[in-house]
Symmetry: C2
Subunit: 302 residues, 2 copies
Amino acid sequence: MFDVVVVGGGPAGLTAAVYALRRGMKTVVVTPEIGGRVMLAHHVENYPGFISITGPDLVKKMEEQIRKNHPDCDFVMDSVYDVKKVKGFFEILLKSRKKISGKSVIIATGTEDKSLKIKGEREFLGKGVTYCSTCDSPLFRNKVVAVVGGGNSALVGVQEVSPYASKVYLIHRRSEFRGDVVEVERVKKLRNAEFVLDEEVMEVYGDTVVKGLKLKSGKNLKVDGLFIEIGVTPLTQFIKKLGVKVTSQGFVEVNDKQETSVDGVFAAGDITTKNANLLQIVHATSEGAIAGFFASTFVNDL
Amino acid sequence: MFDVVVVGGGPAGLTAAVYALRRGMKTVVVTPEIGGRVMLAHHVENYPGFISITGPDLVKKMEEQIRKNHPDCDFVMDSVYDVKKVKGFFEILLKSRKKISGKSVIIATGTEDKSLKIKGEREFLGKGVTYCSTCDSPLFRNKVVAVVGGGNSALVGVQEVSPYASKVYLIHRRSEFRGDVVEVERVKKLRNAEFVLDEEVMEVYGDTVVKGLKLKSGKNLKVDGLFIEIGVTPLTQFIKKLGVKVTSQGFVEVNDKQETSVDGVFAAGDITTKNANLLQIVHATSEGAIAGFFASTFVNDL
């Protein structure tokens, strides 16, 4: 029987484990792999303490920190298939059919970027194609870029890359935006932004790096970068069955202590409502710390 | 005229600067020194990404990150004497009588630990005396320690050090606690905690490290460590004059965007109400990122 079962091995989950372990909790991290969405980050320059580091290297350091300081922490490299509350405790069924029992659960499964599923998208990932304008804008100084999307992520993305790029196209398949009017107005004010509406990206082409986009209208658009900002999908397969309250998009609702609607279940990182607008590593770790701390208090109170 | 004036050079202020700079803001950090409360941390083992690092080394890395990635960032090594809003902009008067103008202000001045002001307290700082149980508990494995204080910081502090220490005394000068009843009950449940009430610590003694405490009653208490958990003082000298809403203890009230009650003024880190219970580096950086991001949006909207 574990005190704290952390589901997810990205920055949120690993930090939650650190804070629980430091409070003397018998802790296990269940995750198919160390990392998560951070593994796609090629140059992290906005996580305090590192001039520039890759996402995989950063999360590796977080893992080493646990393995060195808390050799008693368990890691189970597996996915969670189901979680049930039985007599006040949690039974976690894994994909491998193994079972784990815990007094508390921290959900830190994160999100997956929605993809366009077009030719070249995967091939040029990190070579001009990115899913995070907050992270990667400074890499496109004096470049021509396109942002694709119709929600706030895309509209804010254009504002983030605008100070760097020489030109920013905002490509949206409709003529109206799903995002807030205030964000549309902010984009209109930018000196170097241009709307490309009722248009879709069909293919990304290039050589070693992105050179341009083939559009549905048949036109080609020469760009050095493509920001795909069409949202994220929360990874919540097992969560609904547990009865945890989620938004219509699937984000887990939490309070200031990272408590969910189910007693003993906490959530942290990209998966929560708190993070829905600014999915940054620095927020994931902060939420993880709070979740680990208060899950420990919860266990001590049992 | 700066876009963003960050007041404070600890983890919150430096991260706020990073996020503002990345959005293309002309940014200045005003602070008497790089660092703050973090400078007192001898072994930071709960900041994700570092197995173990000193507070001064960590904050030095955060400073290097700005100087390397954003050589255009200004640093003014001075204290803020006064801030006035004049015609929609902010005039920041420094102790040196120099003036700075800004379109937005981020308050990240942090807090100072309250001290007992007793003999040995300063001498044994980092040699057994600490102000942060959340940070330093794991350093006292199998040691005898005392926590002093009567509020939640002290009561939670005992819970944090209890899994490590062989014995924890909770010394309080009254017989009733100012903290929550639920926290008092949690301490009562601990196997190794003992209340020492109506008692005060008059002196810390030792050789190279702490050996014990002289108490007001005349008794000596042999301990290896002393956690002084009598609260923190927010560093807010100039803030009240600016009209920013603060709590009765002086913490700045902020919303989810780190906005204060004054338009264009943001706050982040230990100084805010958000952080009042868990003053961790990881939360300071998270709040700093949000403040830097939304201060930039505020400036772009002007």
